[in-house]
């Protein structure tokens, strides 16, 4: 092997692999569903950078494996041993240091993304308690025949304490109350969305685009996980531990809400939708439903809401079994 062609080949391979990994990192967004929240591009970029690095590593390592397997295969009749090379300290230091630098860089970069996502500020929602109280009297008024099991009050009392986990305000919104607040309750096998401001109870999440939305997430029975793939956001709904998600949708449309944590036999059917409206449409929706949500009609609405998707029809009956009556829902906002 002559020296010069070898190094030119290495250089050429390096250039090709670099270009390829840059191209791959540009293309990585194709793997994802569309970006519909403010943080989705951040997450996709972080993933894209890792794809770029991974593609480069992949070609270097797999290329070396394939090349060595061919170049150094045993020739017929050659029963000798290979060359007795045991170690090469500079080389080993090099390949320890490079990945170490890369992972430290990725670590720092992901802390930064995490900060921009609002990961460091859960619980920063001045005004939650006030909004909750404003509504509670109205809903309790709907509850003449309370029939709660003994464990419910404890659960619900805890649900009101401020969330310490999840995603809170992004750095520019710290200290500001969110524009829209929705209480999200997961139960086998449905999501119930309650709007403390207007008293609307719904089986689908409606939000305005471009406004700061906060979800206060709780679970009634087992652990669920609230996930909107298009928003790149996921947070477990944990019985007894309130959690939250705060985000800004950027694109009107209807996106799936998926339960990501195994929650029982029909876990796969625990699906609903989030509908991102333009602010005007959202106001119209609020208007329409505030009127429709007169106290005497709410159990019906609730049942309808829960059976929104065909798979969820069984939930309608299940709600009463779970003790999810308007009065238990009322307890979510004492």
């Amino acid at each position: 092997m002559e020296q010069i062609p070898g190094s030119i080949l290495t250089l050429a391979a390096g250039v090709v692999i670099t270009l390829l990994s840059l191209w791959a990192s540009q293309q990585s967004h194709l793997f994802f569903p569309e970006q519909a929240s403010e943080i989705a591009p951040l997450v996709d970029n972080l993933f894209g950078i890792m794809v770029g690095i991974a593609v480069a590593f992949f070609f270097v390592v797999q290329g070396a494996i394939v090349y060595f397997m061919i170049r150094y295969r045993q020739r017929p009749g050659d029963e000798e041993d290979g060359s007795p090379i045991r170690e090469n300290l500079p080389l080993e230091a090099f390949w320890t240091a490079i990945p170490a630098i890369i992972v430290i860089f990725l670590g720092i970069y992901s802390v930064d993304i995490f900060q921009q996502m609002g990961g460091f500020n859960p619980g920063d929602h001045a005004g939650h308690a006030m909004v909750g109280h404003k509504h509670s009297a109205a809903v309790v008024a709907q509850a003449p025949d309370m029939n709660m099991t003994s464990d419910v009050p404890m659960l619900l009392a805890q649900a009101d304490t401020s969330a310490e986990v999840g995603f809170g305000a992004s750095p520019e919104n710290v200290g500001k109350p969110p524009d829209v607040m929705v209480d999200v309750a997961g139960m086998q096998y449905a999501w119930i969305f309650t709007y403390p401001d207007s008293g609307i109870i719904s089986g689908e999440l409606h939000i305005p685009v471009g406004q700061d939305v906060q979800l206060n997430i709780s679970a009634k029975d087992v652990i669920h996980s609230f996930w909107v793939p298009q928003f790149r956001l996921k947070q477990d709904a944990i019985p007894g531990i309130p959690t939250e998600l705060r985000f800004k949708a950027t694109k009107p449309g209807a996106y799936p809400v998926v339960c990501a944590e195994l929650c029982g036999g029909y876990h796969g059917s625990m699906r609903t939708r989030v509908i991102a409206h333009t602010p005007e449409d959202y106001q119209a929706w609020v208007q329409q439903n505030t009127v429709a949500n007169a106290p005497q009609e709410s159990p019906v609405l609730l049942a309808q809401a829960a059976s929104m998707t065909p798979e969820n029809r069984m939930v309608a009956g299940h709600i009463h079994q779970m003790g999810i009556t308007p009065e238990t829902l009322a307890q979510l906002h004492p």
Binding site: L42, M50, F57, G82, P84, V103, S110, V165, Q230, K234
Partner: protein
């Protein structure tokens, strides 16, 4: 213990005339205390459970061929996914890699006549069959349905009897694992022949040492968590009941404190297997012996500080998410060092294309891919999106199937001649490899896309937009299931009728190749004397003057 103190080279007292030199077939079904018998008992039992767990996987993939729940009812599907995971981890990979290869090879590699505590060893094995029986028996009570993680409160409210049987089964294998780990540590520390320096200890033994230490630290924590869960289910306590003051997230910490290190329990012994196979079949000394040995220990240490990355979307405070992001990413460094060292070992070799080598190199490729997706999962922002999706399923099957299972196959092709005295058929070995390689990639590669696009895992029914990719995965799973057939026939046929192997068919230099195939009871007529290091291929034996840092440890 007395055996270890036999002076090197002292002939064993003449065996009594009736003293058998080989075991009869029925000895493999008894409480035999010979480490080789126990090793084979582990391997065969584990392989049986692999087939059971594999059939469950095939049933689940059949269900997932369409978006609707049409083959299995959803509760049965959940029972299958729970038991598939549990069986593959606790009754196949861990017992086969540590119990099987560890028991068979460690005493042979360090020049001992048996493990330090032979009866404890046999007892550890015999906890496994009842554990498996409990798991399979739990199907008569509906089967545990809350996933192999069994998070409360779901595990508290579904199929209580089956869930209790599941817990008892895991506690049994956990106990077995602790007994085994203790035995390995003492055997390696105390029974290594005196002429073997620490830097002549085969890397497989280093790996088993790291594995055992990890198991000793982490397994009791899982046992504690599970026993508390058992109390919650059966005796009215409320450790994990949120409506009675319990905390469901504590369970997750206890569970993952063991179950993330369990990943290393599954892969570290396989790293050891790789470090034995690659040098022999490439006819080269292992590149970077010390780096590989140290990195096992580094993985063992750092591996204890990464468990929270399974809980990024759970009840995890922000600082924890960030601390564990960084510690998780750091594990990539020692793992990378190992992979680069194996690739460098190939350089300048005379590589034999044996089935063992093909599986080992296949492992390198697949595990590397799994490692790369592991880095993306380690960063909290990306993990938040893909947690509990098929992306994770793809990742851990690349690591555990493309890694551990490929490694187990490689180990079986490599040491089968030593264990049985007969060669496996190489042609069918290669057919097996090709089918497995294609099947694995076809099954698991498309799952990355499923997860990123939005398909959660552990679902019997899913959004119809994912159906075409799922069909591809299902076809792959059938190929994978079929790939076991040539292997199984090869094993059964070669065990009884294969060509005789001789003592050292691959030309290995570690001690297990110095005895007969299969080794006699008590391993050697005369304890071996070390004449070469385990990896002294291609040149004069390593000179003794770099009497290394290992002596200090």
């Amino acid at each position: 213990m007395a055996q270890a103190q036999l002076p090197v080279g002292t002939p064993l007292t003449t065996p009594e005339p009736e003293h058998p030199q080989a075991w009869k077939w029925y000895d493999y079904f008894t409480f035999n205390v010979d480490h080789k018998v126990i090793g084979i008992q582990y391997l065969v039992t584990a392989f049986f459970f692999y087939l059971v767990g594999g059939l469950m996987a095939v049933a689940m993939r059949a269900e997932l061929a369409t978006a609707d729940s049409d083959v299995l009812n959803p509760n049965l599907y959940n029972a299958f996914l729970t038991n598939h995971g549990t069986i593959m981890i606790f009754l196949w990979i861990v017992p086969a890699a540590i119990g099987g290869f560890g028991n068979y090879l460690v005493p042979l590699m360090v020049g001992a006549r048996d493990m330090a505590f032979p009866k404890l060893n046999a007892l550890a094995f015999w906890l496994n069959p009842p554990a498996g029986a409990l798991l399979i028996g739990s199907f008569f009570f509906g089967g545990a349905q809350s996933g192999w993680t069994s998070y409360p409160p779901l595990s508290l409210i579904t199929a209580n009897t089956a869930q209790s049987m599941w817990i008892l089964s895991i506690v049994l294998v956990g106990t077995s694992s602790i007994m085994g780990a203790l035995n390995f540590v003492v055997t390696i520390l105390k029974m290594k022949i005196p002429s073997m320096r620490w830097d002549q200890l085969p890397l497989f033994c280093w790996a088993i040492m790291a594995t055992s230490l990890l198991a000793l630290v982490s397994t009791p924590v899982l046992a504690a968590g599970l026993i508390l869960l058992l109390f919650d289910i059966n005796f009215g306590t409320s450790f994990f009941k949120p409506d009675a003051g319990g905390n469901v997230v504590i369970y997750q910490h206890l569970f993952w404190f063991y179950s993330h290190p369990a990943v290393y329990l599954m892969i570290l012994p396989i790293f050891g297997v790789m470090s034995e196979i690659i040098p022999i079949h490439a006819r080269k000394p292992i590149f970077g012996y010390k780096a590989i040995a140290y990195s096992s220990m580094a993985i063992c240490a750092v591996g204890l500080f990464v468990w929270v990355h399974h809980m990024f979307t759970s009840g995890t405070p922000p600082w924890m998410r960030m601390f564990f992001t960084i510690s998780t990413l750091i594990v990539a460094v020692p793992t990378g060092v190992k992979i680069f060292s194996w690739v460098a070992t190939l350089w300048g070799g005379k590589i034999r294309y044996t089935s063992a080598m093909l599986f080992a190199v296949g492992l390198l490729s697949m595990f590397f891919l799994g490692g790369l997706s592991g880095v993306t999962l380690g960063t909290a922002p990306v993990d938040i999106h893909v947690h509990d999706t098929y992306y994770v399923v793809a990742h851990f099957h690349y690591v555990l199937f493309g890694g551990s299972v490929f490694g187990l196959y490689a180990g079986i092709y490599h040491w089968f001649p030593k264990m049985t005295g007969r060669m496996l058929n190489e042609f069918w070995g290669k057919v097996h490899f090709v089918l497995t390689f294609i099947g694995t990639n076809l099954t698991f590669l498309p799952m990355h896309q499923l997860g990123l696009q939005g398909m959660p895992r552990r679902v019997a029914m899913y959004d119809p937009q994912f159906e075409s990719i799922n069909k591809l995965c299902t076809i792959g799973a059938f190929v994978l299931a079929f790939s076991v057939v040539p292997f199984l026939i090869n094993i059964i046929w070669s065990w009884s009728k294969g060509p005789k192997a001789g003592d050292n068919p691959w030309g290995g230099l570690s001690l297990e190749w110095t005895t007969a195939s299969p080794p006699m009871i008590e391993n050697w007529p005369v304890l071996p004397v070390l004449t070469t290091g385990p990896y002294d291929f291609g040149g004069p034996p390593e000179d003794d003057d770099d009497d290394s840092d290992f002596d200090d440890e």
